[in-house]
């Protein structure tokens, strides 16, 4: 009985461990990259002559960047123009609270609707929202306005109420100028607060201060290629470095398996020396199975071995193991239909 309980507990423990590992793996992978990486990237509060929406209107706009390498769906996320206090919501779930809040206060909070492909942001891409207070114009038109001449803020909340990003727009942002991240996707949250040191005002006067709705703020260049093109025009450095890496990797493997080989040799000498010739095989008293001669049994064994292409522990040796499994322990036996008494 005690053994049974112990075994049951062991099985339960094993199950628990497996479930824990699965949960941990899935949880970690879900947190790896996604909505929490979305970033405010650029904003324009007074748009007189810049970007137009699909109706040809100039509206204040802001841009969100997906810095991950996977598509991120923004549906059911919340954009607000002030910090929403979620600490005193009682038993209500943050999602439900934000939901209700967005319905009651559309001038403060906007819930990104479901089912619009425009709100799915492709990897390393941008999405532009128009802050015109006209949600009837589409999912990318939010329910409140950004106004020029006043200090405005934008807060991006995940579906479960976690704060994803914050942007504080300066009041003195000139017309047709944007407030933009120096480099796309940099995290500028410092203890949940906006850190303005990564932001700059752009007026579109030159390439460095270009206004780039839906585009990268900083021109994307493959710095590696530029670097090698400039500093290693003959390819000598990369050749020496790369060959060094290839050699190091294979040298390590060589050392490791050289040591394994030594250990294996020692073990083989002790336990598994091959007989030098058939004559060296000690005679045994074991009788041949049934009436079959030894040669026939050897031929059958060889044919079986060739047919099954079975791997043995050593080449040249064929081992037959007794099958100790019973109907209680063998899966094959359990799955076989039992004979039916008629």
């Amino acid at each position: 009985m005690a053994t049974f309980l112990f075994n049951t507990r062991l099985t339960m423990n094993r199950k628990g461990i497996i479930i824990t590992i699965f949960v941990a793996v899935f949880t970690l992978s879900s947190f790896a990259q996604g909505r929490k990486d979305l970033r405010f990237n650029e904003v324009m509060t007074q748009n007189d002559s810049n970007l137009v929406d699909q109706y040809g209107q100039h509206q204040p706009w802001f841009e969100i960047f997906n810095p991950t390498y996977g598509t991120v769906g923004m549906e059911q996320m919340f954009i607000a123009n002030r910090r929403i206090d979620l600490s005193n919501i009682g038993d209500q779930k943050p999602k439900d609270f934000l939901n209700d809040f967005a319905v009651k206060h559309p001038d403060v909070c906007y819930e990104i609707p479901r089912g619009d492909k425009d709100t799915k942001v492709a990897p390393r891409s941008h999405v532009v929202f128009f802050a015109d207070g006209n949600t009837a114009a589409g999912s990318l038109h939010i329910s409140f306005k950004l106004q020029a001449g006043r200090e405005d803020s934008l807060f991006l909340y995940d579906v479960n109420g976690d704060l994803v990003d914050v942007l504080a727009v300066p009041a003195n942002l000139p017309a047709n100028c944007t407030y933009a991240l120096i480099e796309d996707g940099i995290s500028c949250l410092s203890n949940g607060n906006f850190a303005p040191k990564f932001w700059t005002v752009r007026n579109g006067a030159n390439d460095d201060s270009a206004i780039t709705p839906g585009k990268f703020n900083k021109r994307v260049v493959n710095e590696n290629i530029e670097k090698f093109h400039k500093h290693d025009s003959t390819g000598g450095i990369i050749t020496v470095t790369a060959m060094g890496i290839v050699f190091s990797a294979l040298l390590l493997l060589f050392i490791l398996f050289y040591l394994f080989g030594l250990a294996n040799k020692a073990t083989q000498k002790e336990t598994n020396e091959m007989p030098a010739a058939l004559a060296d095989i000690p005679a045994t008293d074991a009788k041949p199975a049934g009436d079959q001669p030894d040669e026939a049994i050897a031929a059958i064994c060889l044919a079986l071995y060739q047919h099954l292409n079975a791997h043995d522990s050593e080449s040249g040796i064929l081992t037959f193991n007794r099958d100790d499994q019973t109907a209680w322990s063998s899966k094959a036996n359990l799955m076989r239909q039992l004979p039916i008494r008629k």
Partner: protein
């Protein structure tokens, strides 16, 4: 009657404009001849038929002239060929092929004599020699890296890397890599003879020791961890290679190993070969760059063979008298498995009909597979 004639003639004219005859250009004719030549080489001379037949026929498919716009061509979005081609463009097929290679490769020859791994590493100099040459010819570093990988003599690796670094050159690089792999019996022997003396070619190597099952199981596990910690960018190829090998050696997943090494590899090879062939549309393929790529590919194979053979000779200087290596196995450091190892054996036979080098050459040969995948990872890490 006149109306009917006019109707018929306009329809026939329209039909004529859709036919291949009306859209044919010299480039198409040249490429069709190239495709036919590949098929001829494969069927008549048995040059890598598993690869050259699908590629050759793919070239025929890709160069049938047609009027664009009907979702027919491989570069037209939504066409069947385009969908199959995504596996090449996005790099899905090469890791699957590597899974199969892992499941069919027996690394015992390498494990029995692990120092042969270094020969596999040395032969990768062909890749970087070609890289320097490509830079000298005016290619940008990313293009040079993609072209240079031809020196690894490994088709899937070449496709994988060129798809990442220089997708526009991928068709030419893939065809070049596979063509030279088929031509290994022509390219390597003169280089091997040139760099070795008769005395060296007669060196007999000791039979390899027996390799335990534990070693075979540990190799893919430690191989993955060690190589990928060095070069994480090689993970798609190395991960699948070692995974396939573990399926084979674990002894408990024989069915999976069989599927990976037979049915799955065959399916992927068919689709990969055909789509790579079809991607060589004359307009994309017949360019000055292609000629350079074929020249550089040839140089890469020669340099890889030279560096493998010379490394063995160098290595012999520090090895004791009874443990010297036959330099004829140096060519096998390129990863054209098992063709390069067979060439070592054939060349050895010519000078001593009782000197069997095949299993000795398989060591550097399979090490070359790992080495070229690591080299590809390094290039991707530096230039990607």
């Amino acid at each position: 009657m006149v109306l009917l004639e006019s109707f018929l003639s306009s329809n026939l004219m329209q039909f004529w404009n859709f036919t291949g005859f009306a859209n044919c250009q010299w480039g198409n004719i040249i490429m069709l001849c190239v495709g036919l030549f590949f098929i001829y080489l494969a069927i008549k001379h048995d040059f890598e038929p598993m690869l050259l037949v699908p590629i050759g026929f793919g070239i025929l498919i890709g160069n049938i002239p047609f009027q664009p716009g009907n979702e027919i061509g491989i570069y037209e979005e939504g066409s069947v060929l385009n969908i199959l081609y995504q596996g090449v463009r996005q790099g899905w097929y090469p890791p699957l092929i590597f899974l199969g290679i892992g499941a069919m490769t027996d690394f015992s020859a390498l494990l029995a004599n692990p120092k042969l791994m270094l020969v596999g590493a040395a032969a990768q100099f062909g890749i970087f020699g070609a890289y320097m040459l490509a830079l000298a010819l005016g290619f940008m570093p990313d293009q040079a890296g993609a072209i240079a990988i031809i020196g690894g003599a490994d088709g899937p690796t070449a496709i994988f890397l060129s798809g990442k670094l220089a997708p526009n050159l991928m068709g030419a690089i893939a065809v070049c890599a596979y063509s030279y792999m088929a031509l290994v019996p022509v390219i390597q022997p003169p280089v091997m003879r040139l760099l070795t003396t008769k005395k060296e070619r007669l060196i007999r190597m000791k039979p390899a020791r027996k390799v335990s099952q534990n070693e075979k199981i540990l190799f893919p596990i430690f191989g993955l961890i060690l190589t990928c910690f060095f070069v994480p960018s090689g993970l798609p190829l190395l991960g699948m290679l070692f995974f396939g090998n573990l399926l084979r050696e674990s002894g408990v997943t024989t069915r999976l190993a069989k599927t990976a090494s037979n049915a799955m590899t065959d399916i992927v090879t068919i689709i990969l070969g055909m789509t790579v062939g079809a991607s060589t549309q004359a307009s994309e393929f017949l360019t000055k760059e292609t000629i350079f790529i074929f020249f550089l590919g040839f140089c890469a194979f020669v340099v890889a063979t030279m560096s493998g053979v010379l490394f063995v000779k160098l290595f012999n200087l520090i090895l004791p008298a009874g443990k010297k290596l036959n330099p004829l196995i140096g060519n096998a450091g390129v990863s054209a498995v098992p063709m390069a190892a067979r060439i070592s054996n054939d060349q050895g036979f010519k000078y001593d009909p009782s000197n069997y080098l095949l299993m000795h050459a398989m060591g550097p040969n399979v090490a070359g597979v790992i080495g070229s995948a690591v080299a590809a990872g390094v290039l991707l890490g530096f230039l990607g």
